[in-house]
């Protein structure tokens, strides 16, 4: 560390990115202060939330088994909703467990999970300072030399900003600009407490097992979707919608979530449950295009959601795994020394994170198909309900059924083909 630095590294934000970074740096013998504005790590953090465990294993092999996760996801569900109607596809088993039996993805609640992960970083020797909001960066000769918090200065050789989607520090450092309304979704969530046995019966899973449910068509035509995740003894239910389109559509995130809870296909899952928390969070939806070209400057780098490492793939949202991997890469860049930005980019490439971000770029085009959020769920339900309507007459040819439904929804064949091509190309 430089002579006038208090510590080697200050990491701001004890979420998955910050705690992974602090964990790796402390393990390699660096002095690290992990600064967190919540009174405990996790107290300010929100996600859907499902965690893909490969990232936890990348931090330390065997970590998943020790993690306080809620349930191992064994069932994936996709539900299309139109008015009071719904159709659902279930996929099981979900993903592949590795030979050691580590589940591919688990559900988490962040107050519990993040506190544990920050504790692991502490266990490696990092100093966790909670209840501290960082006011600004400390600058000297165009170089970041520390932070100012509660009016006091703290100096470090490197400051790592892992301060989340609204990152004030990355903006202050000039690495990021304002977010456009179209580049994010606003997510709202309720955690509904429910008896574990009832939950398992309703979702068709065993003890310790869980389900991840994606819902489409539940956002009043606004770009977005819904989700349900099973926790140990609760359900996380929420919607993520494009915030800039709400006013024109006359909808609110809160109203859409209340409507979703009342939907005839959703309500039985929640029956008898007690809503114990309401939370909100912004979700980046611009993928690789939202990752700034420069991720570091002298004495400073940005990681996790603050750096745009979030992917909305339509059928799943990935944030926490990318945060963990980017936090590890940030630590490796600090350890490498030299040109931080070059070392960081090299580490991100080495971990395959940039390839993941680039590979998912086509999904963005698919998710921009406006008909995906109202017209197509309705069209699919019309076809499905007509198929099951038996009136004693001869069954109509399916082709004609689809054509009639398509015309009823005002979707020209050309439009359907065009959207289909976008879908094929992006997937």
């Amino acid at each position: 560390m430089s002579d006038d630095a208090d510590v080697d590294v200050i990491v701001v934000g004890a979420g998955p990115a910050g705690s992974a970074c602090a964990h790796r740096l402390a393990r390699e013998g660096r002095s690290v202060v992990l600064v967190e504005r919540g009174t405990t790590a996790g107290a300010k953090n929100v996600s859907g939330g499902r965690l893909y465990t490969y990232a936890l294993e990348a931090l330390e092999e065997g970590l998943t088994r020790q993690a306080p996760f809620e349930r191992a996801v064994v069932r994936e569900q996709i539900m299309l909703v139109d008015g009071d109607r719904a159709m659902q596809v279930s996929v099981l088993p979900s993903g592949d467990s590795d030979p050691a039996g580590v589940p591919a993805s688990v559900t988490v609640l962040r107050a519990r999970f993040d506190a544990w992960l920050a504790g692991r970083a502490e266990g490696e020797g990092a100093l966790l300072a909670t209840g501290v909001t960082v006011d600004s960066l400390l600058m000297e000769h165009d170089r970041v030399v520390g932070i100012v918090a509660d009016g006091e200065e703290m100096r470090a050789s490197v400051v790592v900003a892992a301060d989340g989607v609204s990152s004030l520090l990355a903006r202050e450092a000039g690495l990021t600009g304002p977010l456009a309304p179209a580049s994010v979704g606003v997510g709202v969530k309720e955690v509904v407490a429910l008896d574990a046995a009832a939950l398992e019966a309703r979702f068709g899973v065993g003890p310790g097992e869980g389900a991840a449910t994606l819902l489409l068509g539940c956002t009043g035509g606004v770009h977005g979707g819904g989700f349900m995740y099973t926790n140990a003894a609760s359900i996380s239910i929420g919607v993520v919608v494009s915030p800039g389109d709400l006013a024109a559509a006359g909808r609110t995130p809160h109203g859409l979530l209340q409507d979703l809870k009342e939907h005839p296909a959703v309500r039985p899952y929640l029956a008898g449950g007690e809503s114990v928390e309401y939370s909100a969070h912004l979700v980046r939806e611009d993928g690789v295009r939202g990752v700034p070209r420069r991720l570091a400057r002298e004495g400073f780098l940005v990681t996790g959601e603050a750096a745009g490492f979030v992917l909305n793939l339509g059928y799943t949202v990935r944030g926490m795994d990318l945060a963990l991997v980017s936090g590890i890469a940030a630590a490796e860049a600090v350890l490498a020394g030299g040109d931080l930005d070059a070392a960081y980019h090299a580490a991100l490439e080495r971990h395959g994170l940039m390839a993941t971000m680039r590979g998912a770029d086509g999904y963005r085009d698919l998710l921009h198909l406006h008909r995906l959020y109202g017209t197509y769920p309705g069209l699919a339900l019309d076809v499905a309900t007509s198929m099951f309507a038996v009136d004693g007459g001869p069954p109509p040819p399916l082709r004609r059924l689809v054509r009639d439904v398509r015309r009823r929804h005002g979707v020209p064949l050309r439009g359907l083909v065009r959207d289909g091509l976008v879908g094929v190309r992006s997937l």
């Binding site: 519990r112 909001t133 609204s166 006359g250 809160h254 809870k261 809503s275």
Partner: protein, 96 residues
């Protein structure tokens, strides 16, 4: 029985330490008075932005979920200060 819950009821299930002395989000009423679209009113998950009797949007920062949505959707620039609550203040999620 309906599962619908109004916003105040939902916020009542969250834990807040409200900083009465120092709001972390500050509006400029003169700028907000020029805003005709008021996207903040629809987008705020906690519905803390309300059009007042004078027709100008106002904000009650108690109950803020600290999501950052208002900062992103504000077009007129009426949000002249957007920060996090001072140390130890604001929402504390027990679930997350």
């Amino acid at each position: 029985m309906s599962t619908r819950l109004p916003v105040p009821e939902l916020l009542g299930r969250d834990v807040f330490a409200v900083d009465e002395g120092s709001p972390h989000i500050v509006l400029d009423p003169a700028v907000c008075a020029t805003c005709t679209t008021t996207p903040c009113v629809a987008a705020c998950p906690a519905q803390l932005y309300r059009v007042g009797p004078d027709g100008v949007v106002g904000l009650d920062h108690a109950g803020c979920l600290e999501c950052g949505t208002c900062r992103v959707v504000c077009e007129a620039g009426g949000i002249v200060r957007w920060t996090y609550p001072r140390s130890t203040f604001g929402v504390s999620y027990r679930q997350g």
